[in-house]
C-alpha cells in the first residue's frame, strides 16, 4: 500500500474558510439543521433521560458484544439470512464481491452506508468491473462528481444547487444553468428509476441490528433503500459490529433520538425493518464488519466512541466543521467523532485532527448517546504526545512554558519583557505573518504594570 499523505487540517481548511461566501453559507445551512434539532429535542420532555438510557444500553451492548453478536447470528440465520463475518475492509469487500460473482451480477444499487465508504467498496467493485450506483440523492451527486461525502448524513452539503445543476447537466442532460431543486430532484428521480430497474443486487447499510430478533433496521428519507432491495432478489446488508442493540424494545429509544439529532425530524420518512429474506426466492446476506472496532473496544479511553449512531449532530454543531467543511478532515467520518475515530486507525496520519478543535464541548452536549467527544479529543492529544507525534516546535514551547510557570521570578521577568517589547516595537514588527495570532487580530495593548506589581504597591500588609 502506498504511504498515505499526512492530513494537515489547518492547511486543508484554509481554502474553504478563505472563500467567505461559501463558508458562511455552509455554516448557516448546518446551523439551520442544528436549530431544527434543538426544537425537536426540546419538544421531548424526557430528552436528557433518553440520552442517558441510550448511553447505558450502548455501554451494556459493547461490554457483552461477543454474546450479542452470536445471538444475533443465530436469530438472523433462523430467519433465513446468511451471516458473514469480516475482520477488515478487504475481507468485507471480498465477501461482497463473491456474492455478486455467485449471482453473475454486473450492476448494483446501493443505498447510503458509511461502512461501505469506510471500506472503499465502490472503487473495489468498479475495479472488478461492476457498476455501482449510489441511490441516495446526495451520494449520487457526490458520486457523479467523483468526490467523497463531506458529511455522514448530508453527503453533498458542501455543494451548492448551482453546482448540482452543472453536474446534472453534464451527466444527466438537464438544462444548462438549471438550479431549481424541484427540477433537479425530478431529473435525478427519473435517472435513478432506470438504475433501480436495472439493478440486480441491492446493497444497504444498517442503522440498527437487533440481537433478540435477528432483524435489521434501515432509516432513510428517500425510500431508496426500500426500493433498492425490493426489486432485486438479493439484498446485502453491510454493518459495523457496533450497530447492535440487544432487545427489540431498545429500538424505541434510538429511533426517537436518531432523526431528531440528525435532521431535526421527529422520525425518518422510512424506517424499514428487515427480518430475514423477503420470500423463499430471495436472499438476505448480512456482512458483520470489525475493521478496527474490537481494537477500539479494548481501549478504556476511547471505547465510548463505539456508541456512535452516526447521526451527524456533532458535525452540525461543531463550529470548526461548519467553517472548514467535511473534506478538510480527509476521512470517511469527519467532524468531532471522526477526529476521535480516525487516529485510532492511524495516529500519525491523522495527528492534526484532535487539534482541529477549540474544546468548546458543544459536541459532547449534543451527542444523543453521550460520547464525551471533546474529552476524548483532549485524551488523544495526550496520546499523541506520548507517541512523540507532536511537532518539535510545540513540544519545546510547552517545555519552556512549564519552566516559566514553575518560577514566579522568571514569569514576572518574561511578562515584563513581553509588555515592554510590545510597547517599544513598531506595529509591523509584532504584527506580521510570522506571528499567526496577528494575521487577523491585534495584540492586546500592554498595560503599564502587571497586577502583581500593582498589588505589591497598593496592598502592602
Amino acid at each position: 500500500m502506498k504511504s498515505l499523505p499526512i492530513v494537515d487540517h489547518p492547511t486543508k481548511a484554509r481554502p474553504f474558510v478563505a472563500d467567505t461566501e461559501r463558508f458562511h453559507w455552509h455554516d448557516q445551512a448546518l446551523w439551520f439543521v442544528r436549530s431544527k434539532r434543538d426544537k425537536q429535542a426540546g419538544s421531548v420532555p424526557e430528552w436528557e433521560h433518553l440520552r442517558s438510557l441510550a448511553s447505558q444500553i450502548k455501554t451494556e451492548t459493547i461490554a457483552n458484544l461477543g454474546d450479542y453478536l452470536v445471538e444475533f447470528e443465530r436469530n438472523a440465520t433462523a430467519l433465513g439470512a446468511t451471516v458473514h463475518w469480516a475482520a477488515d475492509a478487504a475481507e468485507h469487500n471480498e465477501i461482497v464481491l463473491k456474492i455478486l460473482r455467485d449471482h453473475e451480477t454486473l450492476r448494483i444499487v446501493k443505498s447510503k452506508s458509511m461502512l461501505t465508504e469506510e471500506c472503499g467498496l465502490n472503487h473495489f467493485l468498479e475495479d472488478n468491473g461492476i457498476e455501482v450506483v449510489d441511490t441516495d440523492l446526495g451520494e449520487r451527486i457526490v458520486q457523479l462528481r467523483k468526490e467523497t461525502p463531506s458529511h455522514i448524513v448530508l453527503p453533498a452539503i458542501h455543494i451548492r444547487k448551482e453546482e448540482v445543476g452543472d453536474t446534472f447537466h453534464e451527466h444527466l442532460g438537464t438544462d444548462e444553468g438549471a438550479s431549481d431543486p424541484q427540477y433537479l430532484t425530478e431529473a435525478a428521480r427519473q435517472h435513478l428509476r432506470d438504475k433501480f430497474l436495472a439493478g440486480e443486487v441491492g446493497i444497504t447499510g444498517v442503522n440498527f441490528a437487533i440481537a433478540e430478533t435477528g432483524g435489521l433496521v434501515v432509516c432513510t428519507n428517500e425510500g431508496n433503500a426500500d426500493l433498492g432491495v425490493s426489486l432485486p432478489r438479493v439484498h446485502i446488508a453491510c454493518m459495523g459490529i457496533e450497530k447492535l442493540v440487544p432487545r427489540f424494545q431498545d429500538l424505541s429509544v434510538f429511533i426517537r433520538l436518531l432523526a431528531r439529532s440528525a435532521t431535526g425530524q421527529p422520525i425518518t420518512t422510512y424506517t424499514s425493518h428487515f427480518h430475514g429474506p423477503r420470500d423463499p426466492n430471495s436472499e438476505l446476506h448480512i456482512v458483520l464488519v470489525d475493521n478496527g472496532r474490537s481494537r477500539l473496544r479494548n481501549s478504556n479511553e476511547f471505547r465510548e466512541a463505539l456508541h456512535c449512531i452516526r447521526c451527524g449532530a456533532c458535525m452540525n454543531t461543531c463550529p470548526v466543521y461548519r467553517r472548514s467543511g467535511g473534506h478538510s478532515y480527509s476521512a470517511t467520518v469527519p467532524g468531532p467523532i471522526g477526529s476521535v475515530l480516525s487516529p485510532t486507525r492511524d495516529s500519525s496520519r491523522y495527528k492534526s485532527l484532535p487539534y482541529a478543535c477549540s474544546l468548546c464541548g458543544s459536541c459532547s452536549d449534543v451527542c444523543p448517546v453521550k460520547i464525551p467527544l471533546h474529552h476524548q479529543l483532549l485524551a488523544w492529544r495526550k496520546e499523541l504526545v506520548g507517541e512523540n507525534l507532536l511537532p518539535y516546535s510545540k513540544r519545546i514551547s510547552m517545555k519552556a512554558a512549564s519552566i516559566l510557570f514553575r518560577s514566579p521570578r522568571l514569569f514576572s521577568m518574561a511578562g515584563w519583557m513581553g509588555r515592554k517589547s510590545l510597547k517599544i516595537l513598531p506595529h509591523w514588527a509584532t504584527h506580521n505573518r510570522l506571528n499567526t495570532w496577528t494575521i487577523a487580530r491585534e495584540l492586546p495593548e500592554p498595560p503599564r504594570e502587571s497586577f502583581r506589581h500593582w498589588y505589591a504597591e497598593n496592598r502592602k500588609r
Partner: protein, 254 residues
Amino acid sequence: MSVALFIPCYLDQFYPDVAIATLELLERLGVDVVYPDGQTCCGQPMANTGCTADCAPVARRFVELFSPYDSIVCPSGSCTAMVRHHYDEYFADDDPKFNHVKSRTFELCEFLHDELQIKELDVQFPHKVSIHQSCHGLRELRLGSCSENMTVREDKVRNVLNLVHGIQWCSPTRTDECCGFGGTFAVNEADVSAAMGRDRVADHVASGSSVLASADMSCLMHLQGIIRRESAPIEVMHVAQILAGRNPKHVGNA
C-alpha cells in the same frame, strides 16, 4: 473565611484592571481576600496541548500555594474548570490538599452567586450589553443552560449582572457559540479561529450591543483583537469590571 485570589497569568500581565476590579469588588462585599504571592498559571496551555508531563509540576505548585485558604476565587471560567476538572490525573484520589483546592476553587460569578449569594449591588451601568458565554464556563462549570442540553439551569453570570442597575440587554442570535479562541487553537488553526471570532463579533454587533461582556477574558482578548483590527463598533468588558462600577471606554472618549 480567608479567600485567595487566583489571577490567571495572562490577566496578571495584560489585563491587570480585571484583577483589580475583582479584588475591589470582593473587598467591597466584605470578603477577606488576599493575593498569594508566587502564583503563575494553572497549566492549561500545556494540558490542552496534551503535554501532561509539563503540566504536572505546575499543577502541584498551584495546589501547594492555594491549599491554605478556605476558598479560591478566579475571574476566569476556563482556568477554574482546569483546576476543578482536569487536575485529577496529577494527584492521588485521597490527596487532602488537592481535594480541598478542587472543591473550593470558584469562578467569580459562581462565588458571588452560590457562596456569597449576593442580592444587591449599588452599581449603575446604563449601557447596551450582550453576554458572550464562555464554553468552559458553560459546559464545564455549568454556569448557565447551554443550548444543546434540554436541562434548565440558572444563568449565574446573567443573574449577577442583573444586580447592576440600568443594563439594557441585547442578545446575539447564537446564544452560546464558541468564539474560536480555544487557547493554542487560535494559533494552530489561525484561519478557522479568526473566522469564528469575526462571526461572533458580527453577531454581537448586529444585536445592537455596545458592550460585549464575558466572564472569561481569554475569549475577550481574542475578540478584542478582531474588534480592533476591524474597527467594529463595540468594546469588550470583563464582568468583574462591570460589577466593580467601571465605565465603558467609549463613554470616556465621547
